[in-house]
């Protein structure tokens, strides 16, 4: 069952990722990416990371991609001329070499077998959301604050860039 769902989700992810690269129309690419995000969220559910699956859909599909499609529709650029860049054949060649190399490396490397969960006496097992919350707001509090700062800077930067010339008084 797990193997079946992995094959389905993994295949769908790879297929839609390829579609993103192949489609000529950027809107179709964006739609394929939406399918990829949804299937990655499904993969997260198999991996028992429900909270991240929800966040994946909420942030990627709900915010990032809508913003993106908004821009595609607003600019409404017609694709003309070449789709690929001049260096494309070289890149394809290098990609094949890299794929073979990575496949070789993975087939030869040794992964640790799955560790058994560490039993904690007397503590009821927490849900995925609770566990993330516990770690995020204690151990990773400082990176969390920095992440919010990054978002703030991005917000200000995007407004400054999109507004064009700012008049300072």
């Amino acid at each position: 069952m797990e193997i079946l769902s992995f094959v389905y989700f993994g295949g769908a992810i790879l297929l839609s990722a390829l579609m993103v690269v192949i489609f000529k129309n950027p809107l179709y690419s964006a739609m394929s990416l939406l399918s990829m995000f949804a299937h990655v969220a499904g993969l997260y559910v198999i991996l028992e990371a429900e909270f991240l699956a929800g966040v994946q859909l909420l942030v990627y599909a709900g915010a990032i991609l809508v913003l993106y499609i908004f821009v595609v529709m607003l600019l409404n650029v017609q694709t003309q001329g070449r789709v690929l860049q001049k260096q494309a054949p070289v890149v394809f060649g290098a990609a094949v070499v890299a794929a073979v190399e990575v496949a070789f490396l993975i087939s030869r490397s040794h992964f640790y077998p799955e560790l058994p969960p560490v039993p904690q006496p007397g503590v009821p097992p927490l849900g995925n959301t609770e566990m993330i919350g516990m770690v995020l707001y204690t151990k990773y509090l400082f990176p969390f604050e920095i992440a919010s700062l990054v978002l703030l800077i991005a917000l200000v930067g995007a407004i400054v860039m999109a507004k064009g010339k700012l008049k300072f008084r």
């Binding site: 739609m31 859909l57 709900g62």
Partner: protein
């Protein structure tokens, strides 16, 4: 294993039937309520008091020709209404509408399809995917009214979804869980336990955002008929048009259900004396109160201007909901420690 699957199928089928019937009769209810508020009778011809009107409407819409504009992007034009409707229906999977599980020959059915521990995030994520249906439908129609309606609607849905999400956080802090079942259980035992009282600001913000998210009057700018013909579904006809229509009403029911669960205690009765009334009845009463409220607002208020809408969302509602989150977090922390 097989029994569980069977039970799930029964609940899914029952839920779908109830939801779709509710959606169909909501159109009837809306017309009746609006008519009475405007001092007229509303649909009276089909069946007694016009009760078969939704059926007649459905037959009419199915039998109509499915027109696809020549310049439209055909594939996206066809799937956009489906993208709009499916998330709206899927949201019902996590809504708990009653208290008692039902046992029958080893099969147990719960009054909800599933109780996932990220229920609230699930609903928010689905409602944001619904925006794609509107955006793509408007774009694929290749008409200036449609694209204007779609862009307006997308901007509106994104802005107000933020407010809805922020206002929910206060309730989540109080209940300490994202699961709708746990949120409901935390509010039982009388109306003074309901979160509407400590979270009155969040309640108002959520309700206004809900009206805006479902594109209802006074926030129905995406389909402002006097400026945009019908907004993003100008070019749609027949069954595809009715799919958008169904999606809008299903979204209204979802918003009402979520408001009921989060703020009015879900299936709980307001006073312990009234416990003899079945929980499902209480749930439906509260949901219909919100639906009536939607119609009431529609009959009362005129449409906002677009800049007013955006200013209201970003400059008034968002700071208010942030303030609500901060104050709630502070108070909850002080009480618990």
């Amino acid at each position: 294993m097989l029994n569980d699957i069977l039970a799930a199928v029964i609940v899914i089928a029952g839920l779908l039937f109830v939801v779709l019937t509710m959606v169909a009769y909501l159109t009837y209810l809306e017309r009746k309520v609006l008519s009475f508020m405007q001092d007229r009778l509303g649909p009276m011809e089909v069946g007694p008091w016009g009760l078969l009107q939704p059926l007649a409407d459905g037959i009419k819409l199915i039998s109509k020709e499915d027109i696809i504009p020549q310049e439209a992007n055909k594939a996206i034009f066809k799937i956009a209404p489906i993208i709009s409707l499916v998330p709206a229906i899927l949201s019902f999977a996590v809504i708990p509408f009653g208290r008692d599980s039902f046992h029958f020959e080893g099969i147990t059915t719960h009054p909800y399809l599933t109780d996932i521990n990220i229920g609230m995030i699930y609903i928010l994520a689905l409602s944001s995917i619904g925006a794609y249906g509107i955006l793509l439908g408007g774009w694929a129609s290749n008409s200036k009214y449609s694209i204007m309606g779609a862009l307006r609607s997308a901007a509106q849905v994104i802005s107000y979804e933020l407010n809805a999400g922020m206002s929910i956080i206060g309730v989540l802090l109080l209940a300490g869980s994202l699961s709708l079942v746990k949120i409901e259980n935390a509010q039982q035992g009388g109306f003074w336990h309901w979160y509407i009282f400590p979270q009155i600001i969040a309640f108002v913000i959520y309700l206004i955002s809900g009206i805006a998210e479902t594109n209802r009057t006074p926030f129905d700018l995406p389909e402002a008929e006097s400026e945009l013909v019908a907004g993003f579904f100008t070019e749609y006809s027949g069954m595809r048009f009715s799919l958008y229509y169904l999606a809008e009403y299903a979204n209204m029911i979802v918003v009402s259900c979520v408001a009921t669960v989060l703020f009015l205690g879900g299936w709980g009765s307001p006073l312990p004396i009234l416990d003899f009334v079945p929980p499902v009845i209480w749930f439906m009463l509260k949901v219909y109160f919100f639906l009536f409220f939607f119609f009431w607002i529609r009959a009362t208020l005129p449409r906002l201007r677009y800049d007013q809408l955006m200013k209201f969302g970003w400059k008034i509602m968002l700071p208010l909901s942030f303030a609500n989150v901060i104050v709630t977090a502070f108070v909850v922390y002080m009480i618990r420690h």
